[in-house]
């Protein structure tokens, strides 16, 4: 009770308890993260837009306004069409594959069998491995001379003189345009499949047991349950998985950089890798930024879709 007598004057009292006020402490605690993001994501994003509208190069760092010239120049470039087509091809094709395979794989992993933990570990490997290192592994797996895949094909008489894959003893995976594209596509599928699978698996296990029980009691068989219960209940989570897969594939340059460097003759070039080659290796920062800018609309679209998904899960 002695504290009552020793009440300090109101002004110092306010200051002493300033950090107890939620309206003061809340923004203060958020500040470091927000400042970081504004300074090193928001500001560079603005700078990227400014670059794409200027003539900046590594040699001449001055920002002179050139309007949309970079975009026009880039769009006229033959490589642009290839890169644009490849970016969308790799993204869409790999994600269609991933969605199909992930559904099957999630079903497999949701049932009990021996060695499930090992299988899960192995299946996760492509996702947990840094993509540059995974791509190196593929580069060696698809080697133009020592590829073990080629060796297997030769053993079963699919490759070599007088066979369907031609007279030479190797496929030259990364040297032929169509095979190189197929390889990039497969690596993206390989890499994003684990994420989609575990997300779907989480969704599958979250289906309430009484819903499954009710379906069993109602006499619904495997396919019926799949079509009428699992897939509809999983749709939102599938959308989430696909959106993540799309972002990671769409913006990736590492696979192409390590595997083909965009070749042969730009046939596997994607927007991201081309932006790197032009902007950093070629030194034309403005054009590099302009190329990367073409990723932007799609990312905004994905972000909007994600916000909607999150809103919906919030309200239910």
């Amino acid at each position: 009770m002695s504290t009552i007598a020793a009440t300090p004057p109101p002004e110092t009292r306010e200051r002493r308890y300033l950090l107890d006020r939620e309206g003061v402490l809340g923004p203060l605690m958020l500040l470091p993260a927000v400042v970081y993001i504004i300074a090193l994501v928001g500001f560079p994003l603005g700078l990227a837009i400014a670059y794409s509208l200027s003539d900046v190069t590594i040699g001449d760092q001055g920002l002179d306004w050139v309007g949309f010239r970079n975009f026009v120049d880039v769009a006229k470039n033959g490589t642009f069409q290839k890169a644009l087509r490849n970016t969308f091809l790799f993204t869409l094709a790999s994600q269609v594959l991933v969605l199909t395979l992930a559904n099957i794989l999630a079903l497999v992993l949701s049932s009990d069998f021996k060695g499930k933990r090992l299988v899960r570990f192995l299946i996760l490997l492509p996702w947990t491995t840094p993509i540059a290192l995974g791509a190196i592994g593929w580069l060696w797996l698809l080697d133009s001379v020592y590829s073990p895949i080629d060796w297997v094909l030769r053993q079963v008489n699919l490759l070599g003189p007088g066979t369907i894959f031609g007279p030479r003893g190797n496929m030259y995976w990364t040297a032929k345009a169509d095979l190189a594209q197929l390889s990039v596509l497969l690596i993206h599928t390989w890499r994003t499949l684990p994420l989609a699978t575990v997300i779907l698996l989480a969704g599958l296990t979250a289906i309430p047991q009484d819903v499954k029980d009710a379906a069993n009691v109602d006499g619904a068989g495997f396919w019926r349950q799949l079509i009428y219960i699992r897939i509809p209940l999983l749709l939102p989570i599938m959308a989430v998985a696909t959106l993540f897969g799309m972002v990671f594939t769409f913006t990736d340059m590492t696979v192409v950089y390590v595997l083909t460097r965009g070749g042969p003759i730009d046939n596997t070039q994607v927007l991201a890798s081309w932006a790197y080659f032009k902007g950093i290796e070629g030194g034309n920062l403005a054009q590099g930024a302009a190329i990367a800018m073409f990723l932007f609309p799609v990312l905004v679209g994905v972000a909007v879709l994600m916000l909607r998904m999150a809103r919906r899960t919030e309200t239910t």
Binding site: M29, Y36, L40, A48, Q61, R120, T128, W140, W190, I280
Partner: protein, 288 residues
């Protein structure tokens, strides 16, 4: 009747089992084949590896540890590992220091705006390095960090902070408010209550942040490639892919060793913390 019925079910069961095992094997092979090939390669002698007619999946000559020795002693691999660990440790530190208060603020102090703001911050994670590396390389040069490991320390939190804030928010939400309010009643300030109750209770969540900030740092490639060109400052991802395949000389066995040595521990780490990771990625659409 009953007998044939159960027999039929039994056959069906066995069939379903067979399909499950077949699919599991197929997918495991698809996922792990490159790794199997990498691991076999690590221990192969040159003459074994570079003979086209040899069965590549067998050791036609005795396995050797010489390639790992080569990697460690003849290349800058240990420098890359050291750089990576240094960068990762610094990034983890920055991430935790920024993320813990931010996630707390968003779950406890921001009221209705917290969740929306949290999702907004999470979306920043989706802004790809490929969009930002050009302007960031300029910024990095301007602050004098060009070609330095510290450039990565500066930039990597731009993706670890958004992702880990979101992860931690999920964790803080599961701690009852009562506990910290009790601490405030018991005579502590809000900050004191956080320090003495929220933080100790959240150790598993903070550990998750540490693991994923670390893993994301190891995964990063684009910024590292764009910012650092001298081999003394390179991290594993970039060092291995640029320094060990210079020109036409490929040290394939050493290269594969370099990759596998990193890949396996990270995979184990991920497996330990997978559930929390997935909880973040499902945007709350799956309630565990």
């Amino acid at each position: 009747m009953a007998g044939t019925g159960t027999a039929l079910v039994g056959v069906k069961r066995a069939g379903a089992r067979g399909i499950i095992y077949a699919l599991a094997t197929f997918f495991a092979l698809f996922a792990a084949l490159p790794f199997a090939w990498m691991i076999i390669t690590v221990f192969k002698q040159n003459t074994d590896l570079y003979t086209r007619t040899n069965n590549p999946f067998l050791f036609n000559e005795p396995p050797t540890l010489g390639n790992i020795d080569l990697l460690v002693t003849q290349t800058k691999y240990l420098t890359f590992v050291g750089n990576t660990l240094l960068v990762a440790a610094a990034v983890v530190l920055i991430t935790v220091v920024a993320t813990v208060p931010a996630a707390y603020s968003l779950t406890r102090l921001a009221g209705r705006w917290g969740e929306s703001l949290g999702i907004g911050i999470f979306l920043v994670y989706l802004v790809p390095p490929t969009l930002l590396f050009i302007p960031l390389s300029r910024i990095v040069a301007d602050v004098g960090l060009n070609n330095s490991r510290w450039s990565m320390v500066l930039v990597y939190p731009t993706f670890t902070i958004p992702f880990c804030t979101w992860l931690l928010m999920g964790f803080f939400k599961s701690i009852p408010w009562d506990i910290e309010e009790q601490a405030m009643i018991d005579g502590y300030s809000r900050l004191g209550a956080i320090w003495r109750t929220v933080i100790p209770i959240s150790v598993p969540g903070i550990l998750t942040v540490v693991v994923f900030a670390f893993a994301l740092t190891l995964h990063e490639f684009v910024y590292a490639l764009a910012f650092v060109s001298s081999s003394a400052g390179k991290t594993i991802s970039v060092g291995v892919t640029t320094e060990l395949i210079r020109g036409d000389v490929f040290f394939w066995q050493a290269l594969m060793a370099a990759a596998v040595i990193v890949a396996i521990p990270i995979a184990l780490l991920y497996n330990l913390f997978l559930d929390r990771f997935i909880a973040g990625f499902t945007l709350g659409a799956v309630k565990g």
